[in-house]
């Protein structure tokens, strides 16, 4: 008889212990959400006037998720989580150190454009009359401004081809041709506003030094090709002394041919590209403006070298690789757009975690005191049962963390703390049944057997309602509500498991002990009527 109880009890302990051991051995660990660990969360919503809808929008969003995921992988964040929620893209980067940089990398939404440099201008616009005086002797066919350039160079790596003259001629009216004004006029022009940054316009953008201050401005011609022509790009530390960016173009008319047409124009310094420099521009920022040293390139033999440090080389490569998203998203730092951003500092995250854990432990201790004071040994059994379901919950959470990158957020921690109370309810229901049965004349031994099915039925149906509720919330809502629903559902299921497989045998075992049967102060139960008389 005793064996009948001990075996299942041992079995459940071994199973739970084994699961815990497996989980620890596998190195599964509960991931902390960014509100506990610090990090960045960006939610991107397409701008309202997007022309796409239906399937096209759907496809564009999926593509964007893919592109952002690739960009983020380049950031080296341990557990990035990029998901689509309806028409939004949620990017979570827990633990990311340089949050601003993360924001920039994720938020870059514009088209990558290759524009020829038509003229190099001083950093500050010069009034037209002064400009005329200064450049009255200037030639029409050369760059304006005599500032030194330290632009990146594009050395020859492809075969020096005699076919250069025949290769790809650009169509008329692109590049620096037919701008509608002479480059000298540009001296007095302000930088181009973001709204006027169209592919078919010429633009003026500043070149920034490492401190972010403009030291030159470039007059750029119309776009000659876009990021769509690029296949991929890499940064490498070549020869052990300098950082280089290696773009690879797609083959064919929409890829390398377009690039070669532009390169040819620049190499020959013809009217489309008088300075010989080809600028790579993303969202109004000149990423790089290398001089073209060869008229013809193999699509995978192109090297951009120059003043790159590691960060800039990698960023430029990332921009080249994943430059354009198929959709335009609202600026996350603009509160009037649907997009939003959340940056959590690591120290504040740690503070929240500490506060949550401390509060949980204090709460647990208080509950344990109360349960043991009220139910004595049964209370202790209840706390053990809570430990069993808690361990199982931990194993499941860390498993989900590992496989589905589910992260524990502050909402989850609170959910866990609340579930302490509700899990103990099943024990309370059982114990109260037990007391009532014994008061009605049963012996402890038979009451333990008879009360459980009735109490468990109550617990089961009540928990089933909770599980149904949790499932509805899980499938019909988004974001943090969903995480909470998962926690609620899991806790309810585990409560049933722990009650049935752990609490029942433990209490049964206690009911068999003569030492406990006779001592009301120990069991927390009244003495049976039969035994009293």
């Amino acid at each position: 008889m005793k064996r009948q109880v001990l075996l299942p009890l041992l079995a459940i302990l071994i199973i739970v212990g084994g699961l815990f051991g497996w989980s620890e051995a596998a190195g599964n660990d509960v991931l902390l959400g960014l509100d506990l660990k610090g990090g960045a969360e960006v939610v991107l919503e397409p701008v309202e006037d997007t022309e796409l809808s239906g399937d096209a929008l759907d496809e564009a969003l999926d593509k964007s998720v893919e592109i952002i995921r690739n960009r983020v992988d380049g950031l080296g964040v341990a557990e990035p989580d990029i998901t689509r929620q309806g028409n939004r893209i949620v990017v979570q980067l827990p633990g990311v150190e340089d949050q601003r940089r993360a924001l920039e990398v994720v938020g870059q939404t514009a088209e990558l454009r290759f524009r020829p440099v038509c003229a190099i201008l001083p950093a500050v616009p010069i009034k037209l009359d002064e400009a005329n005086n200064q450049t009255s002797d200037g030639a029409n066919d050369g760059p304006v401004g005599i500032l030194p350039t330290d632009q990146d160079e594009l050395p020859a790596e492809g075969p020096e081809g005699s076919e250069s003259s025949t290769m790809g001629s650009t169509p008329d009216g692109i590049g620096c041709e037919n701008l509608g004004f002479v480059p000298q006029d540009a001296l007095g022009m302000e930088n181009t506003e973001a709204d006027d940054d169209e592919a078919e316009n010429s633009v003026i953008f500043p070149l920034l030094d490492s401190e972010g201050n403009p030291y030159q401005r470039l007059l750029l011609g119309r776009t000659m090709l876009t990021g769509a022509s690029l296949e991929t790009a890499d940064a490498s530390f070549a020869g052990g002394f300098e950082w280089q960016v290696l773009p690879v173009f797609r083959s064919g008319a929409d890829g390398i041919d377009l690039f070669n047409a532009a390169a040819n124009a620049c190499y020959n310094r013809n009217s489309k590209c008088q300075t010989g420099q080809l600028a790579i521009v993303l969202d109004g920022v000149i990423e790089s403006a290398p001089t073209v040293n060869t008229p013809f390139f193999e699509r995978d033999q192109i090297v951009i070298s120059g003043n790159f440090d590691q960060n800039r080389a990698e960023d430029t490569a990332l921009v080249l690789k994943y430059g354009s998203l198929p959709l335009e998203f609202g600026d996350p730092t603009d509160p009037t757009s649907g997009s939003r951003v959340r940056l959590v500092s690591a120290t504040l995250g740690q503070d929240s975690l500490d506060a949550g854990v401390t509060a949980g432990l204090v709460g647990l201790a208080l509950v344990a005191l109360y349960m043991i004071a009220y139910y004595k040994l049964l209370g202790l059994a209840a706390m053990l049962s809570l430990a069993v379901s808690g361990t199982m919950l931990w194993v499941i959470l860390s498993w989900l963390s590992e496989t589905r990158s589910l992260a524990l957020t502050l909402a989850g921690v609170v959910g866990l703390i609340v579930s302490i109370g509700t899990s103990l309810d099943s024990n309370v229901v059982y114990f109260e049944h037990l007391k009532e049965d014994i008061r009605n004349g049963r012996t402890l031994r038979s009451a333990v057997d008879q009360s459980f099915p009735i109490a468990f039925k109550t617990i089961f149906w009540a928990n089933l309602a909770s599980i149904i509720g949790a499932a509805i919330l899980y499938f019909l809502t988004v974001g943090s509500v969903r995480g909470f629903a998962l926690m609620l559902g899991l806790a309810s299921i585990l409560d049933l498991v722990a009650t049935y497989f752990f609490l029942r045998p433990v209490v049964k075992l206690m009911g068999m002990q003569k030492a406990i049967q006779d001592r009301s102060w120990l069991s927390g139960l009244p003495l049976s009527v039969g035994e009293e008389s």
């Binding site: 509100d35 939610v43 609202g330 600026d331 730092t333 603009d334 509160p335 009037t336 649907g338 959340r342 940056l343 959590v344 120290t347 503070d351 500490d354 506060a355 949550g356 509060a359 949980g360 204090v362 709460g363 509950v367 349960m371 009220y374 502050l410 909402a411 609170v414 703390i417 609340v418 302490i420 109370g421 509700t422 103990l424 309810d425 229901v429 109260e432 049944h433 007391k435 049965d437 009605n440 004349g441 049963r442 008879q450 009360s451 009735i454 617990i459 149906w461 009540a462 928990n463 089933l464 909770s466 149904i468 509720g469 509805i472 919330l473 019909l476 988004v478 943090s480 509500v481 909470f484």
Partner: protein
């Protein structure tokens, strides 16, 4: 015997039925206050619902005025600044500020940067030590819309569930109790103008789940006792009252074990250790848990009883087969009922143990 001792021994005989009316009136009063303060004062919605930005940074010994003066002119008046617990909190309703500056030809994104830069200067902390969050006004609305949709489905499914499992009168009672709890909690938030944030919405949902669970345990007991209608000719009201007395201690204990951790979160987590988000959860939970236990006994039960007395079919009770609670088959001290096992054919004989 002292009341406590009687409670411990589950021998209370609280005349719940007599209390229902006065307590129900009080409850109604609180409900009216809640709903009207919701109507007149409205909710103090957090920035997630209004569109805005929030900054948090560790800083001690900084005066509110100092921070206000350091903030950019366009937002310094609208900023809500809190210091305390070694953490400086600044919240700004950005949509207005952004509109103003848009009219002045600046872009809204700059404000966020400006405020962050101002806080770096005033606290002397590194930029990465500052938590920033911004939200458009649509987001909070959307999450609330989704939650409300889910709620409607939830109510329908749970109503069906209780009707099938127990009785339709109980379904009405349980859902009324849930609605009562949510309305009062939200009403108190409106009355005291506590801030409603997404964590608060989650807390409201938790309350719902808890309230429902608690009510179902009570109703299950009532159902177990329903055989007394036929067997001992008790009125339905008395049957319910007896059941409520039987589960009374369980309700009290469950409330205590649920409320203790939440109080700990409120006092230790948010009070002593200063985690503001924890308060957003815990306050709503605390109010809701207390009301949830109360409503099971004083809203759900009387509603179900009233409906049952009004619409119930007395004949069906004697024909209906009940699964008897083993516990009440015994002679009960409070009611002079003797239920002999064979008197109800639906009761299976107590199974013998297979091995003894």
């Amino acid at each position: 015997m002292s009341v406590l001792r009687r409670m411990y021994r589950n021998e209370t005989s609280v005349p719940f039925a007599k209390l229902w009316k006065p307590v129900g009136l009080c409850s109604l009063l609180v409900l009216i206050i809640s709903v009207s303060s919701l109507g007149f004062r409205g909710l103090n919605l957090g920035l997630e619902f209004e569109g805005g930005g929030a900054w948090e940074v560790e800083a001690s010994g900084i005066e509110v005025e100092q921070v206000r003066n350091a903030l950019p002119q366009s937002v310094s008046d609208a900023a809500r600044i809190q210091t305390g617990g070694g953490v400086l909190r600044v919240r700004i309703e950005l949509s207005k500020a952004a509109q103003t500056s848009l009219q002045e030809g600046e872009s809204g994104g700059d404000i966020v940067q400006e405020v962050t830069a101002a806080l770096v200067v005033v606290t002397g902390q590194d930029e990465s030590a500052i938590s920033v969050s911004t939200a458009g006004p649509s987001w909070g609305e959307e999450i609330t819309d989704k939650a409300i949709n889910a709620l409607i489905v939830f109510f329908i499914v749970i109503a069906l569930y209780i009707t099938i499992r127990l009785r339709w009168e109980m379904a009405v009672g349980a859902l009324l109790a849930v609605a009562h709890d949510i309305l009062i909690t939200i009403g108190l938030y409106a009355l005291f103008q506590f801030e409603v944030t997404p964590p608060t919405v989650i807390a409201f949902l938790t309350i719902m789940g808890y309230s429902l669970y608690d009510t179902l345990v009570v109703f299950d007991k009532v159902r177990d006792n329903e055989h007394m209608l036929a067997n001992s000719k008790l009125t339905y009201t008395l049957v319910v009252e007896k059941a409520l007395n039987q589960v009374f201690m369980r309700s009290v204990n469950t409330s205590i074990t649920s409320i203790l951790p939440v109080v700990s979160v409120l006092v230790v987590g948010s009070g002593i250790m200063g985690a503001a988000t924890l308060r957003e959860f815990a306050l709503a939970l605390l109010i809701g848990l207390i009301i949830g236990t109360f409503s099971s006994l004083f809203v759900a039960a009387p509603t179900a009883t009233f409906l049952r007395n009004r619409f119930g079919d007395a004949d069906s009770d004697s024909n209906r087969s009940y699964r008897l609670s083993e516990a009440v088959k015994k002679k009960s001290k409070n009611s002079q009922v003797v239920v002999k096992t064979p008197s109800n054919p639906a009761i299976p004989p107590r199974p013998r143990k297979k091995r003894k």
